[in-house]
Symmetry: C2
Subunit: 77 residues, 2 copies
Amino acid sequence: MSKATFYHAGCSVCVSAESDVINLIGEENLNIVDIAQDRSRIPEAETAGVQSVPALVTSNGNVLHINFGASMADVIG
Amino acid sequence: MSKATFYHAGCSVCVSAESDVINLIGEENLNIVDIAQDRSRIPEAETAGVQSVPALVTSNGNVLHINFGASMADVIG
């Protein structure tokens, strides 16, 4: 099974959610992308359907938006 | 480890998220509660901090609100 990808932006909600997702799914099953640190990954996240972070994109391409930390517009702007 | 609890209300977003969460975490690690079918569980969900469904309450009590399906007010009202 390919990994799920957790997109975040270093916000406090993101860090808390990241910890929870790692506990639930296991770090070995996750790609973790900080789009605030690595802005070149933002188009990839948007293409995947990420509308806000933190978000988890499953291996089959579904996007689970978790909580509401920062809108993509906040991260990009 | 105690199980995480997935609260939902039978909405289409909920059903999709339920499928994703089961795939990610495994059904054996989840309690699944449909608060639309079992309204007596609504106070429990609210006490746990669930503000909208679908939501996943981790075994350590953190609430991950997933997407935005229906507000608790919509389900209760």
